[in-house]
Amino acid sequence: MRRFSRLTVAGAATASLALTLSACGGTSTEAASSGSESRGDKGLAIAYDVGGKGDQSFNDAAYAGLERAEQEFGYETADVEPTEGETDADKTQRLVSLAKQGHNPVIGVGYAYATAVKEAAATYPDTTFGIVDDSTIDADNVADLVFSEEQASYLAGVAAAKSTKSDVVGFVGGVDIPLIHKFEAGFRQGVEDTDPKVKVLSQYLTQTAEEGGFSSPDKGRTAAESQIEKKADVVYQAAGLSGQGVIEAAAANKVWAIGVDSDQYRQEALGKYRDHILTSATKDVAKAVYNLAKSVEDGKPESGIVRGDLKTGEVGLADSNPKFKADTELQEAIETAKEKIISGGIKVRTS
């Protein structure tokens, strides 16, 4: 008899699965559009990449752009964080939710949003979507906000090669992915072009972002310490929050660190170590985000590939450290390299 009742239970489970299906009501999108006021009355919304707000780097830069747009245009904005291990369907859902609430533009921060932006853009053709760090989407209402990180990294390489005394410099990448390879490639080329004798050590903290390559200062510190032990006296990091550990290690050992994404010399959290931050290879995500919001506000939304490079000033090399600025020979070398890159005289590799 027990066999029978157990089988019934198994059958009931299957049936309940099927039941959930047939019990479907309307979709959440339909419910919201009929319930709330009409759309198109809210401003910029951003959806963060893994790491989210507070990473002192990439996501925070996007938030800075959002704040600026909020102040300037006085409209309602939104920013939403992802969950761990989510699927493309979840990302799509997030973007669609934002669009359905009337946000315009809606920006996915990070290439991980590529599939989601593509689908959401097809569902909401009247909303402008943006995606940072991806150039694979080709739609009228999508702006691909990409950066030539390798150009800024090249300049960082020039600065490193000119500043090293031991002829060894280091690169610490957060996660072993194509985006970070661009930083390394540019840096390496910059060093080699300036002084072929200088050796570049390179290390990636983790294989995947889930393991914390962008969010573990301790991993960054260990990696930088081992490079410094091998005589590196300038360490360039492209590692998000982990980069703080790299800068800490450099300061502790009295060698140079080169920051990334924002001007890290000016960051309060890093104030203690600023004397050892030579410069930073900046990537102005804030400006790109703001520009897209402005273009929408002006009624001429950006679309297609919008590239930030040395020419537009959205990538560059910060010069807030007075010691760095005072070194005229170094500054000249950087200026020359910069002009050559802008004029096309130097082609910087991306991998």
Partner: protein, 378 residues
């Protein structure tokens, strides 16, 4: 035998129900402590569950949780802790994606081939831990954790453009799979598509139950789990059982990523969901290693996942759902143990009472046997 064993059902249901109630209550405490309405988040989340597009998301996600949890449960049933499900399913999904991108057979052959690839890859990966355990006595917990890390590195290697990787923008992928390997979904109109392989998850659940409860092998497996020495005395080769159980667990784990791979992404990229193997452990615990229980647990987990993002739009933090998931796992462990002891005490009292009443010897024997069986059934 009685048609419906009330005692058994009561004990089986009490654990999860108490755990859920405690978890909900504690989450409400957290909400009150942070000065928020302790009820509204639940109403919002229940409302989400009534939308068809959210239902589709929940079912899709639950199918993967379900398979992963079954893989964990197979190990649990014989006291093996396969923490490596996470590495096994990711590696297996990648292997299937690579085979799918480089082979193009008719669908009737292609899909079985992909399933087989995934099963074999998963089984191979867990088999390493199994072989280490039976030959060198290495704890499977340690071995599978390490194999997870190695799997991540292997995946990183396979992603190299010089190996099997195809770069799409800033993303690593394995290239798009041949269309014959795509499993068509169940079209729900505007709500989206339910992965075709949800059916596979259901079949695996049925298969799990049949094998464990209706075959000699399943009996040996449960016996080994209850008492290895007793099983060995009755002629079960413990080493063979360990290895087989690990292989089955890994093979099942290999399938966990396929619903989304064959139903949606059609490539293994950096966006591929990770961590399902670890969630599977909690889900298997909550479901008490029972296929029906796990199904409910997987649906519950998926509901918390898919309904919580809406909270962000109503000034709540969606992390409430994560807190709740954590509390459920904690509460489950405590409440199962408490319920088990309570059940044992009840049983002892009853046996005591029956003995005191002076029942004939045969009937007493019967009760004692039953008691023993219930203990073994855990």
């Amino acid at each position: 035998m009685k048609k419906f064993d009330k005692e058994r059902v009561l004990l089986a249901v009490a654990g999860p129900v108490i755990a859920l109630a405690v978890a909900f209550a504690l989450t409400s405490v957290v909400l009150i402590a942070s000065g928020k309405n302790p009820v509204e988040p639940y109403t919002l989340m229940f409302e989400q569950a009534s939308f068809s597009d959210i239902q589709v998301l929940i079912i899709n996600q639950a199918s993967m949780y379900y398979i992963a949890a079954l893989a964990v449960a197979v190990g649990f049933r014989m006291n093996l802790f396969n923490i490596g499900v996470d590495g096994q399913y990711q590696l297996a999904a990648m292997a299937a994606a690579i085979v799918g991108a480089h082979m193009d057979l008719p669908a009737v052959l292609q899909i079985p081939l992909l399933l087989l690839t995934a099963v074999l890859t998963g089984a191979f990966w867990s088999g390493i831990a199994g072989v280490l355990k039976v030959t060198r006595g290495v704890s499977e917990v340690v071995a599978t954790i390490m194999l997870n890390a190695i799997a991540t590195s292997v995946i990183g290697y396979l992603w190299l453009p010089s190996v099997f990787g195809v770069k799409v923008g800033n993303n690593n992928t394995t290239g798009e799979m041949a269309e014959s390997g795509w499993v068509p979904g169940i079209d729900m109109g505007k709500a989206g598509e339910i992965y075709g392989l949800v059916i596979l998850a259901v079949l695996l659940g049925v298969g799990y139950w049949v094998v464990l409860n209706r075959t000699r092998f399943g009996f040996d497996l449960r016996a080994s789990g209850a008492s290895e020495s007793a099983a060995a005395a009755s002629g079960v080769d413990p080493k063979r059982m360990v290895l087989t159980a690990m292989l089955i667990s890994g093979g099942m784990a290999g399938l966990a990523g396929l619903p989304i791979l064959l139903g949606d992404t059609h490539t293994y990229s950096l966006n591929f969901p990770t961590g399902i193997g670890f969630l599977g452990i909690g889900i298997a615990l909550l479901g008490r290693n029972n296929p029906t229980g796990i199904a409910f647990a997987a649906l519950l987990w998926a509901w918390l996942d898919k309904a919580s993002p809406e909270l962000d739009f109503h000034d709540y933090d969606k992390e409430i759902a994560v807190i709740m998931q954590g509390l459920i796992v904690l509460a489950v462990v405590v409440s199962y143990e408490a319920v088990r002891e309570w059940g044992l005490r009840r049983q002892q009292r009853r046996v005591g009472a029956e003995l005191a009443a002076g029942i004939v010897l045969g009937a007493t024997d019967n009760t004692a046997q039953k008691a023993q069986k219930e203990v073994a059934g855990r």
